[in-house]
């Protein structure tokens, strides 16, 4: 319902949305604007020896060029590209498969399974990374012991293993959350449609893939979007595992690079430019996923 208010009441909606928008501007819009501004300047020592104070000099696109030319920033993007390549399909595909399986007529104890899968989401991401960090540590981990008894030697914290280990910790925390979203969307699929498919002779698997999946497209696209935007901001898992693994450098991921530029080197201009570049990647990914999603919906 929408109300057109009388003259004296026009201010009401403004009063109602004002608290939110004041905060929205202060903590979201202003910081983005400030970042843009900051990324054009560089703090320089006034004297060549580093005595005295610093002065802020306009440098134009220099900070962006420095970030783009920095090999360790590139490595960060390579790392998250690899991470996304493993994490996103496992996460979205896994959650989807679980939701379709629990939704199928064959599954028992649906409520229990949902709760069991969702429970890891109650664990804060940081704590999840700490727990998995223990489960990756030789001597402490029953997982490593178990793998050893079946003859597999796997170094979770070695150079080949870390990306997989991070993806696992993150997927563990989010797979149930996304599964519940998909499951909820599946509940909204009309019963008549499913019955019609059964009458037409479609089996369980065919019904799931050809009837149910296309009907929850928007949830899949939306989840893909949130998963991708979250994944490129990878920070908690590598930051926690860093104390246990020599394969993770201080600037392993782009957000770690930004954090280091800002708080270790106090190079705010570089940090701001790098974070805007990362935000740009996020926007581009969102755009591509939304476009692909729209095309899928038109099929």
């Amino acid at each position: 319902m929408n109300t057109r208010l009388g003259r004296g009441q026009r201010t009401t909606p403004v009063l109602f949305v004002a608290p939110f928008f004041i905060l929205f501007i202060a903590t979201l819009v202003a910081p983005i604007g400030y970042s843009l501004w900051m990324s054009l300047f560089r703090e320089q020592a006034t004297s060549g020896l580093g005595f005295g104070g610093t002065e802020t000099v306009f440098v134009g696109a220099d900070n962006y060029l420095r970030a783009l030319g920095d090999a360790s920033f590139h490595r960060g993007f390579l790392h998250i590209a690899l991470y996304c390549l493993i994490y996103i399909p496992v996460m979205v595909g896994g959650a989807l498969a679980l939701a379709l399986l629990v939704d199928s007529a064959m599954a028992r104890a649906k409520k229990f399974f949902q709760l069991a899968y969702f429970l890891p989401h109650a664990v804060p991401g940081l704590i999840a990374a700490i727990i998995w960090g223990f489960l990756y540590t030789p001597g402490l981990s029953p997982v490593i012991d178990l793998l050893r008894t079946v003859g597999v030697e796997w170094d979770f914290l070695g150079p080949d293993g870390v990306v997989l280990s991070m993806a696992n910790a993150a997927a563990w925390q989010w797979i149930g959350y996304n599964m519940v979203i998909f499951y909820a969307a599946l509940q909204a699929v009309p019963k008549e449609t499913l019955e019609a498919a059964t009458v037409d002779g479609a089996g369980q698997l065919r019904t799931a893939l050809a009837v149910k999946l296309p009907m929850i497209r928007s949830s899949v696209v939306l989840t893909m979007l949130f998963t991708a935007v979250g994944a490129i901001q990878l920070f908690n898992e590598p930051e926690v595992l860093r104390s246990r693994s020599s394969a993770i450098s201080q600037d392993w991921s782009p957000v770690m690079y930004i954090y280091q530029a800002a708080f270790t080197e106090h190079d705010y201009g570089l940090a701001a430019a790098a974070s805007l570049l990362l935000a740009l990647l996020g926007a581009a990914l969102s755009f591509v996923i939304t476009k692909l999603g729209t095309r899928w919906k038109e099929v």
């Binding site: 319902m1 109300t3 057109r4 208010l5 009401t12 909606p13 109602f16 949305v17 608290p19 928008f21 905060l23 929205f24 903590t27 979201l28 910081p31 983005i32 400030y34 679980l98 629990v102 007529a105 069991a116 899968y117 429970l119 109650a122 804060p124 940081l126 704590i127 999840a128 700490i130 727990i131 998995w132 402490l140 981990s141 029953p142 563990w172 797979i175 149930g176 979203i181 909820a184 969307a185 909204a188 499913l194 009458v199 929850i216 939306l222 979007l225 935007v229 490129i232 920070f235 908690n236 930051e239 926690v240 860093r242 957000v255 705010y268 701001a272 974070s275 805007l276 990362l278 996020g282």
Partner: protein
């Protein structure tokens, strides 16, 4: 749709009103290969449940071990029961620092989520109830806000906070937590389905002011929305790590996650902290796990409204 269909006798294979699980034809097919695929599906689901529950049960078992047994005994085998000793040690170490962190986390999460829920409900309700110029554009901006990478705005927020002297204070973590665009979205969706326009109209005719109408008519109807948005905000701030990491220097202001992170990072040098980090992780997980199990109805409905739209 169903109302317009002429009544006719149920066709074979279609159980009227049945959930599609007990139709006669389905039951007839549930034999031989179908039964084995049923077993396969449930086994697979159970294996995944073991995966999702394993780390938590490991945590539960190992919070009862002392530092020696942690490394000496096999992961899932209980050793000497030291949970109480661990808890006492944890809460007395560094003059009860851990308890302080826990209290800070509760403050950030409970106070922050309460305020944030009110702000979101007010805005969501206004988006549903009123019409104004440029409303949908503004709403589009809110939705865009959901997607802004938070790690990207934390650095400028730190610099802004340090300019106004709020860095390293409770406010620096509380204020950014008040903004929850997803909460506004949820509040609007809930408002559309829970607050009928006629009721508001009736309140207005009775002479209630808009604010009063919101407070005494709409707000009670929105209580499921309140719990859902609160739960999401609470989880959000309980989970937030990057912002406190950036904003806080003083360890007495830390939320529990940041404190445990620092202990965890010093483990290679101070292995005696192992049992504290493990027991502390368990303690910090329990409140949220209990809340999730107790409030299942609400997060389910919240996720549903997020999914269907």
């Amino acid at each position: 749709m169903a109302a317009t269909a002429p009544p006719r006798p149920p066709a074979p294979g279609r159980s009227p009103g049945g959930a599609g699980t007990a139709g006669p034809s389905r039951r007839a097919r549930t034999s031989g290969p179908a039964r084995s695929s049923k077993a396969a599906v449930n086994t697979l689901l159970a294996v995944v449940a073991v995966y999702t529950l394993m780390p938590l049960s490991w945590l539960l078992v190992n919070a009862t071990k002392n530092n020696g047994d942690l490394f000496a005994s096999p992961g899932f085998e209980p050793a000497e029961f030291n949970l109480l000793t661990n808890l006492t040690g944890l809460f007395t170490y560094q003059d009860g620092m851990f308890g302080r962190w826990l209290a800070n986390s509760l403050l950030y999460s409970v106070v922050g989520a309460l305020a944030s829920t009110f702000v979101s409900l007010l805005a969501g309700y206004a988006f549903h109830t009123y019409d104004w110029w440029g409303k949908e554009k503004l709403y589009g901006l809110v939705l865009l806000g959901i997607l802004v990478p938070h790690t990207v705005i934390s650095l400028p927020m730190y610099l802004m906070a340090s300019e106004v002297g709020l860095v390293n204070s409770y406010w620096s973590v509380l204020i950014p937590g008040l903004v929850n665009p997803f909460g506004v979205y949820l509040a609007r969706v809930f408002s559309e389905s829970y607050v009928p326009g006629e009721t508001l109209e009736a309140a207005r005719i009775d002479g209630a002011s808009e604010l009063r109408t919101f407070r005494s008519v709409a707000l009670p109807m929105l209580s499921p929305a309140f719990v859902t948005v609160f739960l999401f905000s609470f989880t959000g701030s309980w989970n937030n790590f990057f912002l406190p990491l950036v904003m806080l220097n003083d360890s007495t202001l830390y939320p529990v996650g940041l404190g445990l992170f620092n202990w965890n990072a010093t483990l290679p040098q101070e292995p005696q902290l192992y049992s504290f980090v493990i027991t502390g992780s368990l303690v910090s997980v329990v409140p949220l796990a209990v809340a999730f199990v107790a409030l299942q109805r609400y997060w389910r409905s919240g996720l549903t409204s997020g999914a269907v739209k």
